[in-house]
Symmetry: C2
Subunit: 479 residues, 2 copies
């Protein structure tokens, strides 16, 4: 088996016992061979099942695993639109794409997510390495940086992650879901990459027109005790801050006040933290986005979990709708600084400072999905520009010849797979699928060496000389 | 926990014992919370590991699972280029995208791949359903059609599949690899969709300029006995056919001769099969691609595995290079007709005829990869158009303000994350990463209300009035 080629080895396994077939049979593409075996007539494991299913002995279960879903064309098209908006923002900020396997060594993931470790999908021990499905894109990124000794990188990664979580599919929580991560790794001057991450969240949420939002920014990087002091002495001020969003100066004013506080200034870490926040707000002011930033001191707890700024974006109207789960349901993006992670993978514990953002794409997707349903707008699932049609019988050859010319010219074209479809049926297909043009060749057109070009919307038809057709179609399709 | 929002529930698991934190903490985006936990200072499972790693007690294993790989930016960019070429062909032929989960119910896959079933990755039984990783995209497509009672569809699907196969990574055989499938499901007139699948293979292999190739087409759909007769009586003719590629007429001539053969014409199935092949070749002639089609009768075995035409594309020069594995190594695409698969998933065994093609993308990828290395060409991994630079110190604010204007105008821009980077360093960054333009703001430019726009290649610098900058950059970047 080892001497066989990549496809051959896989292919050979599909063959029944008995004389080994010749080269072509072995050479089949995996896909085609998977298919081939599925069609075994009377032998093989499959046919038994076919008979079983046909005979109703055993009804196959037709479902996707719990917490997962198929994306039919309309949803796939919507998702493609959404992801491309996010990715184009990441590219606008100069990020490079990387890809990592869906499978990671179990030990790469285990112990990284606290209680979340319970939710990791583990693969069966089938011999060899113990594997698991990635739980997020952050740990694999850190593993990648440490493994390749990369100390500076700006990357994005859009891919599926897996969690044996409690699905709440209506609210966009799945066991298989996409994450869209942008991260900046490297030793840089304070708060410059951090500010860019907030700018990115602001750009994406604005582009997608999800309605009003606020990005809550929280201090990190120093321990709790001084904060209890802070909470004590600026209690009144804080109660205001929890609810009220800040005007640009307000953010700085607050920080200034805290900085000037005699008790607080005694704590070095607190002073540094506030100094960083001041710097961050100066940068966000230059980006002109402080209007949507809320400097949130509502929480003292958990601050020591972070090595720096952490933030989270919340849709406000979502927040209102769902009073039960005020802050959580509307949450559509989050991130922060994590300077310790890469060091965990480095044998010598060498650290690579990182800050990143993750867009809560599933939540946004279900919002857009609901919106699309409400609007009744029908999303095109194909990009076909021209349907090649014939008005009479016995013209299949003419259609095949013409469509092949269009394909070779790079024009997106379709035809019905019937020998003699009715013209009306062909035109209805255009209307149903949103194809803007029909290129009609009948006996008369063939005789005159023209093609009848029909605008589906206006129903206008013009005869175009065959040799001018491609140019005319291109002209019509120009935006 | 169940009352918590989608992120909250996940987030809560990351929290240590003790008083539950307030809303923001719970609201954290999963990504950010994954991060947050990783940064636990002195508590939690993580910190122990950090200390372990730092103290060298335990060196973490830094690798991806056997047969899988990371894609660094250069490879990710090449793959993106390759996949978009394939997908644009699929779209040109009017296919819609669908997506299905990487996870399927074990019973959906098991028994579908014959011996290949051994190679299916199974998930550990962690309670609930028994799951496995998809082995190809064809079985999930059939499951999708049956589950949704779809009887007609033209779809493409580009995604990763998983096989516990014997990796041969240098030849593009991995355990996690991409498949690019295009399939046409539905009851249509014979050979029209089949011919389009061959046209698609022809278009893709021509677009990618992989060198000379041949698409081997094999008859299927009728049982072996008559073929032994055929092989016997047209032995001489066939020995020619095995090696020689056919000229368009040649293909038809052969079929005609076989059709006229008195012995053969007694077998109804054989006649039908040859009739289909004749039809196919007429269509392929209209598509003008028969020059690369080889009507391959070299194999009688395995014919009864198929319900119709099967085909496979082979790179000829690859074939020469690798004499050991003639047909298999060069195999870059394959497919065929599989009319029985969907019926297996239908409780009543209702059939949906299907024909499809799968592009052997990993094989093509490694060919392009080797070619790129040989050429020494450096692929850009980012799309950044402008670097915002400053020539003196204390101008960070000016850079931040300008870059934010560019981002808001949709221009892809970067800056170095240092407060006071040297101009030379900034210009070198442009050269290293292929950024074509630098927008330089110094004290003088700020005073004059201009920006110095530098063409990195020619080193020409021009002062542009600030209000005209965006327009000028767009003009420069026009293709």
């Amino acid at each position: 088996m080892l001497r066989l080629g990549p496809f051959a080895a896989a292919a050979a396994r599909f063959l029944p016992a008995g004389p080994r077939p010749g080269p072509l049979c072995l050479a089949g593409n995996r896909g085609s061979f998977a298919r081939s075996w599925l069609l075994v007539g009377d032998r093989g494991p499959l046919s038994r099942q076919v008979r079983a299913a046909a005979g109703g002995e055993r009804v196959p279960v037709l479902k996707t695993p719990k917490g997962t879903r198929d994306h039919p064309p309309a949803q796939a098209a919507l998702r493609e639109r959404l992801l491309s908006a996010v990715v184009s923002c990441f590219k606008r900020h100069g990020a490079a794409a990387i890809d990592t396997p869906v499978l990671e060594l179990r030990e790469t993931l285990v112990g990284k997510y606290g209680e979340g470790t319970k939710l990791i999908y583990e693969l069966q021990d089938q011999g060899g390495e113990l594997l698991a499905l990635r739980y997020d894109l952050t740990v694999p990124f850190a593993r990648y940086l440490a493994m390749n000794k990369i100390t500076s990188m700006k990357r994005y990664h859009v891919a599926k992650v897996y969690r044996r979580d409690n699905p709440a599919t209506t609210r966009g929580r799945y066991r298989e879901f996409y994450q869209c991560d942008f991260d900046i790794a490297g030793q840089f001057d304070p708060m410059i990459p951090d500010a860019e991450c907030l700018k990115i969240v602001h750009e994406i949420l604005s582009d997608l027109q999800l309605g009003d939002f606020v990005i809550k920014v929280r201090l990190g990087g120093f321990s709790v005790p001084p904060w209890e002091a802070v909470l004590g002495m600026t209690g009144v001020l804080l109660r205001l801050q929890v609810t009220a969003r800040l005007v640009p100066t307000g953010g700085l004013e607050l920080i200034e006040r805290l900085l000037q506080d005699p008790k607080l200034s005694q704590n070095k870490l607190a002073k540094e933290g506030l100094g960083d926040m001041k710097l961050l707000f100066e940068y966000l002011t230059l980006f002109g986005i402080t209007g949507k930033i809320s400097f949130d001191l509502s929480l003292a707890r958990g601050l020591d979990y972070y090595t720096g700024v952490i933030f989270e974006a919340v849709l406000l109207q979502q927040e209102k709708e769902q009073v039960e789960e005020p802050a959580s349901v509307g949450s559509v993006a989050g991130g922060g600084r994590y300077d310790g992670l890469v060091g965990m993978f480095d044998p010598k514990g060498r650290k690579v400072p990182c800050v990143g953002v993750s867009i809560g794409i599933e939540r946004i997707f279900s919002i857009l999905e609901q919106r699309l349903e409400a609007s009744g707008e029908k999303l095109r699932t194909t990009e076909t520009q021209v349907l090649v049609a014939t008005p009479q019988k016995h013209l299949l050859a003419a259609r095949l010849k013409l469509i092949s010319e269009l394909w070779d010219a790079g024009i997106k074209a379709e035809m019905l797979y019937k020998k003699d479809p009715k013209l009306l049926k062909q035109l209805h297909y255009c209307e149903d699928t949103g194809i803007p043009l029909a290129a009609i060749v009948g006996e008369q057109e063939l005789a005159d060496g023209v093609v009848k070009l029909r605008d589906i919307a206006t129903r206008e038809e013009v005869d175009i000389p065959r040799e001018k057709l491609i140019a005319e179609i291109r002209r019509r399709l120009e935006p």
